[in-house]
Amino acid sequence: MITLKNIHKTYGKGNNRLEALKGVDLTINTGEMLAIMGASGSGKTTLLNIIGTIDRPTSGEYYIDSVRMDELSVKEMAVFRNRVFGFVMQDYSLISHYSAIKNIMLPLHYIKLSRAEKKLRVMRLIEAMKLENRKDALPSQMSGGQKQRVAIARALVNDANILLCDEPTGALDSVTAMEIMSILKKLNSEGRTVVIVTHDQSIAKKCDRIVEIKDGIIFNKAN
């Protein structure tokens, strides 16, 4: 279970101070598929980054089960990002000069595994994501859907329990977007928690619960 209590996030100082999150309270159950909706600049990506330990809250409490996340050391947070979280971004966040295999393998560099085990994990995911004929291709040689599947495979390579998706279908056509959503639904049905940040109503409706965020405040929670 993910629990956020009175989370504040402020950027800048003095006259340039910007409060991106103003006391966010949110609970996400294990295995839930949650959509966070909001307009541009509402703070939804900031919230996602804090959940994913890419960013630290300025104040407030953040728990995953009983672990106090906002008080973890830099090294401990890195381990969480590597093993617990998987990220799927709108721009795919692939390294342009790495092939699909190398991109998927990236998180494996930060754990101790034999080369054979690493290869096995990667090949399983390539098969699962139907990327066999694109495994050696560079991102520039892939379609949007293929790139997003590579990103999802990378997110799952360490068997992440929590998938954090920031507009995962934002750069895709409707058909491909539905394909990606099907994959995310399937992963959710396997027991993974999926958090999707989106401003697309049709994507949000596919989730178990929708939360709206506006000006850094969560003001509407609907099933």
Binding site: G41, D55, M89
Partner: protein, 373 residues
């Protein structure tokens, strides 16, 4: 650490062309720094040379024309000796003759034979002198010969030591201050350093007939003694000895000063241009590295890297690039600049560490991963 090294090599392999361009850029920066050091040294040398100009240029110099046509006869020797003695007897006469270099320890050494008013005229200072060195320089009844040695001789000799010059022992009575130089009239506007030279008194009695013209040429006389010079000119004309011309030292020194200043300005500007382009090149490269790789590093952090990992990788890659660049600079021929290049490498790595640590400290991977909105 090992994974970072592996990552670094992998990154270089996959971005080989980019790495090569950056290495070439850094090599050029190092060569520019070498150029800066060399031109700065030239700038400093020419600055020192201005100090070698005469302090009081209100002198007249004797210019001997067509000296090769003077025949070596007893009559000519007698007349030349008479002219020399007349000039020598004029109060305030300054002689600086450097036409007779010597060999000391198998090394060619410039020798300046001077009158004792040379030091004040050129503002030359003597270090580690014996007591009464000026009196000894003027004359000594003991038959002992004396010299002042250039600053470079301090590595091998001390005051009081004897130096063998052409079979004669000369005692060192002091050393010429480092950086001293002298610009002689009629010497093509050149200023010569005294650091590797020796200065000896003029021993009048020993001047051979064949050398008299050389010494006459070396004489300068205060302008107020112009009348005495005219007497010399009249004697010369009467006996048809030489073709003489009397010139003003002030005009000569003005030309020398102008030539030296022009060279000084030239090297100064070149040095500034070199260092400007070198610094700009290195700064652009550092910023380019951090900017280009910003997104890539953000993705790595998202996948479980720590900020320290990123810093280490940047330092490793920069160090490799610098080592190759330094090696290439050496092959290209770095002289005085090498020590500076090595120092710059250390400063450059330090700069990378500081800038990277600063940027990584305040770096938000979240901003780099933010979706396009």
């Amino acid at each position: 650490m090992f994974k970072n090294i592996r990552f670094c090599f992998e990154h270089i392999r996959l971005n080989a062309l980019d790495f090569v361009f950056k290495t070439i850029e850094t090599t050029i920066a190092f060569l520019l720094i070498s150029g800066f050091v060399t031109t700065s040294l030239n700038y400093r040398d020419y600055g020192n040379q201005i100090k070698g100009l005469m302090k009081n240029a209100d002198l007249m110099t004797v210019n001997v024309l067509n000296s090769e046509s003077v025949q070596d006869t007893k009559k000519n020797y007698k007349n030349l000796r008479r002219i020399y003695d007349m000039l020598r007897s004029i109060p305030g006469t300054l002689i600086v003759n450097n036409e007779y270099p010597v060999t000391i320890n198998e090394t060619y050494t410039e020798r300046y034979q001077v009158t004792d008013n040379f030091f004040d005229s050129y503002g030359i200072h003597v270090t580690d002198p014996v007591n009464n060195w000026k009196e000894r320089f003027r004359s000594d009844d003991s038959g002992r010969k004396y010299l002042l040695a250039g600053n470079s001789f301090k590595k091998t000799y001390n005051t009081g030591d004897l130096i063998d010059i052409q079979g004669e022992a000369y005692q060192i009575i002091g050393f010429i201050e480092s950086g001293s130089s002298v610009a002689l009239p009629m010497q093509d506007y050149q200023s010569e350093s005294l650091d590797k030279a020796i200065i000896t008194p003029i021993y009048d009695g020993e001047i051979a007939a064949s050398d008299l013209i050389s010494y006459i040429r070396s004489i300068t006389v205060p302008s107020k003694e112009a009348e005495a010079l005219l007497d010399v000119k009249r004697y010369n004309l009467k006996n048809a000895v030489l073709e003489l011309d009397i010139l003003s030292c002030r005009d000569q020194m003005k030309k020398v000063r102008k030539a030296v200043i022009e060279k000084e300005v030239y090297y100064g500007i070149i040095a500034l241009v070199f260092i400007f382009f070198s610094v700009m090149s290195m700064l652009c490269m550092i910023l380019q590295m951090i900017t280009d790789y910003g997104r890539e590093y953000a993705i790595n952090i998202m996948c479980g890297a720590q900020k320290n990992d990123i810093t280490v990788r940047i330092i490793l890659e920069a160090s490799m690039m610098l080592s190759i660049s330094l090696g290439l600079s050496l092959i290209a021929g770095v002289n005085a600049g090498f020590a500076v290049d090595a120092l710059v490498s250390i400063l450059y790595i330090g700069m990378i560490v500081l800038i990277t640590a600063y940027k990584i400290r305040y770096y938000s991977p979240g901003e780099n991963l933010r979706s396009v909105e």
